[in-house]
């Protein structure tokens, strides 16, 4: 039924979807953001950290899209750009084909009702002076729901995320465990009845057993409420378990994307391969014996020329230093990869 709602607006969807009807509930187009590095007395910007460059993707209704990559690859900034918590230098976000915060599009406030975010710091993202029921009720009240009704809704949500309101409603954040606090954060996100929830490392700080409980809760909520998830994480085991599609980022750029099953069974981009090879296996026969990549990711202030991964890549050839590979569709299905080795005529010896 939510799909039906999405289709009604298709006639007025803006150009740029290339003739195909835009099925994406959330679409990012060429999002870019650099942060100035200030120095000196007057704080002039002397350099820029290119946190996110030309990131484009679309999340389809009901799917879970994971964004993975090392620390500092720009995945959290991407999440904040999506929410409008950080302003992009270039690029735009569309919700149901409508530009966010632009004239004729969807206003930022109503966008933030449809798209919500759960943060990594479960303690820090709750106001220490508010009982958790008030924290959850704050969102609905901002959007015009009466105090009493907002509180009733908050209590219902508390029990939905597994915290009996009779015991927990009046508690303060410091009286809860990390897992319980993350449940409160999930309830807070749900309180606005969003269609998309962005999880920024939402289970990374929790220990494995608690994290598993939260993941199961997320899967339950997704099917009950027909939610779309953007799941930002560096934890590949969790990502493999929960996601339908994966976006691999390296130094602010998307290097590969595709269905989770394909990507995990046959990674294409050398960085994705290295990332997957670095996972720890429970099976001793598949033990990791040496580090798949060496060295740290290069400085995002001065990214290497050409392909940003070439200094660490085992397949690097002269063309990789000379030209930057574009993210292109490759093979069958909906897989995309940014690597010369998969582009015919790129000059790479492995390209067919």
């Amino acid at each position: 039924m939510r799909r039906g709602m999405a289709q009604t607006g298709s006639a007025s969807s803006p150009a740029g979807s290339g003739g195909k009807r835009d099925e994406a509930v959330l679409r990012a187009s060429n999002l870019s953001r650099r942060f100035p590095v200030r120095s000196g007395v007057f704080g002039r910007a002397t350099d820029y950290v290119r946190a996110v460059e030309d990131v484009s993707f679309a999340a389809v209704e009901g799917e879970t899209l994971a964004i993975v990559g090392e620390s500092g690859c720009g995945k959290s900034t991407t999440g904040r750009l999506l929410m409008g918590l950080v302003q992009p230098d270039r690029g735009s976000v569309q919700f149901n084909g409508k530009l966010v915060g632009a004239p004729g599009g969807i206003p930022l406030k109503s966008f933030r009702q449809r798209v919500q975010m759960v943060f990594q710091d479960s303690a820090g993202s709750l106001n220490p002076r508010l009982p958790i029921v008030d924290t959850i009720a704050f969102g609905p009240r901002v959007h015009g729901v009466g105090t009493v009704e907002a509180r009733t809704r908050a209590e219902a949500l508390l029990s939905e995320v597994g915290l009996p309101p009779r015991i927990f409603a009046r508690r303060y954040p410091h009286e809860l465990s990390g897992g319980q606090r993350q449940r409160v954060n999930i309830a807070r996100a749900l309180a606005l009845e969003p269609r998309v929830i962005i999880f920024d490392e939402a289970v990374s700080a929790l220990d494995k057993s608690v994290s598993a409980q939260i993941i199961n809760l997320l899967i339950k909520l997704r099917s009950e409420r027909g939610l779309t998830y953007i799941f930002i994480s560096h934890d590949l085991a969790v990502v493999e378990f929960i996601s339908d599609r994966i976006l691999v980022m390296y130094l602010g750029k998307v290097v590969e994307s595709g269905p989770a099953a394909d990507l995990f069974s046959a990674p294409w981009h050398p960085y994705t391969r290295a990332l997957l090879a670095s996972r720890l296996h429970a099976d001793p026969d598949r033990r990791v014996r040496e580090a798949p990549t060496t060295g740290d990711p290069p400085n995002p202030i001065h990214p290497p020329p050409g392909c940003r991964f070439h200094p660490r890549c085992s397949m690097a050839e002269p063309v990789c230093t000379a030209n930057e590979p574009a993210l292109q569709e490759a093979g069958t299905g909906s897989r995309m990869v940014a690597c010369h080795a998969y582009r015919a005529g790129s000059g790479h010896s492995m390209a067919t």
């Binding site: 820090g124 993202s125 009286e175």
Partner: protein
């Protein structure tokens, strides 16, 4: 016996759930205050002083303005004038009661005015950052450049003497420290992750300030304001002592101190009484502020 043994293990497993019914923050503050006998004692003294001032017309045996020149400068313990009389024969007890009204008014209202103005300016500066912050904070620094007492004297000198002008002058000198305190706590709160979460819910800046900023800074600011009360009462008395505050026929502790000054060799104890009251009141506000500070500190709660 084995029942009770196994029972003891259960709460250990369920520690996070077991601490049910933890009281709200302000309730824990009051609980901690209740165990602090010093703060309770100074609180009681302050309540006594304030209610004595409020009920001065009921409690005072004489008129504060008229006295008999025949009974001038009576010592403490004189029948009918237990705390003595001043240089025109007015009853000191009566004048102290009435003087409390003006002294407290002149001492407390500047702090409240400064709290309203400085507090909101500080929240605006701390929350918005950037240009607004620079403008407000640099303007505050300019006011800071003057020594506070001199500034108050200068403002009173320009506006002329009188109760209202001394209140305004004191409010003006308390605004800068108030701005600083509220700016610094607000900018500390502004960068906390829950502010981003509140923003992500689509709330306007005003809604975020009302629900998420104020609740986190009000404790610190109130404690600071309480500590200013003592200073303000002393400065207000100082201004009237210098003849810049309340005008002579009215009773005010600082003014009384000034007029009794000439009698200090004749009746030193009587002359010291207004000063003693100024001292006790400001001391009580100071101790009160210390007590509030420790009662509001959540880190001591566990």
């Amino acid at each position: 016996m084995s029942d009770s043994l196994s029972y003891e293990v259960v709460p250990k497993v369920a520690v996070p759930q077991a601490a049910a019914d933890t009281p709200p923050y302000w309730q824990t503050v009051f609980r901690r205050l209740r165990n602090d006998w010093l703060t309770l004692a100074v609180g009681a003294i302050l309540v006594g002083i304030v209610s004595a001032a409020i009920f001065a017309p009921v409690l005072a045996p004489y008129s504060p303005y008229s006295g008999s020149i025949l009974h001038r400068l009576a010592p403490i313990g004189t029948p009918g004038h237990w705390l003595g009389t001043d240089e025109t024969g007015r009853d000191i007890w009566t004048r102290l009661l009435y003087g409390g009204r003006l002294s407290l008014l002149a001492g407390i209202s500047p702090v409240i005015i400064a709290l309203a103005i400085g507090g909101s300016l500080g929240v605006i500066a701390g929350y918005s950052g950037g240009l607004a912050n620079s403008v407000i904070m640099r303007a505050t620094d300019t006011l800071y450049a003057f020594p506070s007492v001199l500034l108050a004297v200068a403002i009173c000198g320009i506006l002329g003497n009188g109760l209202l002008n001394s209140i305004l002058a004191l409010a003006a000198i308390f605004v800068p420290p108030m701005v600083r305190i509220s700016e610094s706590v607000t900018s500390q709160v502004r960068v906390l992750p829950f502010m981003e979460a509140a923003k992500a819910s689509g709330a306007s800046d005003l809604q975020i300030i009302r629900h998420h900023v104020i609740s986190n800074i009000v404790g610190t600011i109130l404690v600071y304001a309480t500590s200013l009360f003592s200073l303000s009462i002393i400065l207000a008395s100082g201004l009237s002592f210098l003849g810049l505050g309340v005008n002579p026929p009215d009773a005010e502790w600082g003014l009384m101190l000034n007029s009794l000054r000439q009698a200090i060799y004749v009746q030193p104890l009587v002359a010291a009484l207004p000063g003693l009251l100024i001292f006790i009141t400001s001391m009580c506000f100071n101790l009160m502020s210390d007590g509030l500070r420790s009662a509001m500190d959540t880190r001591l709660s566990e």
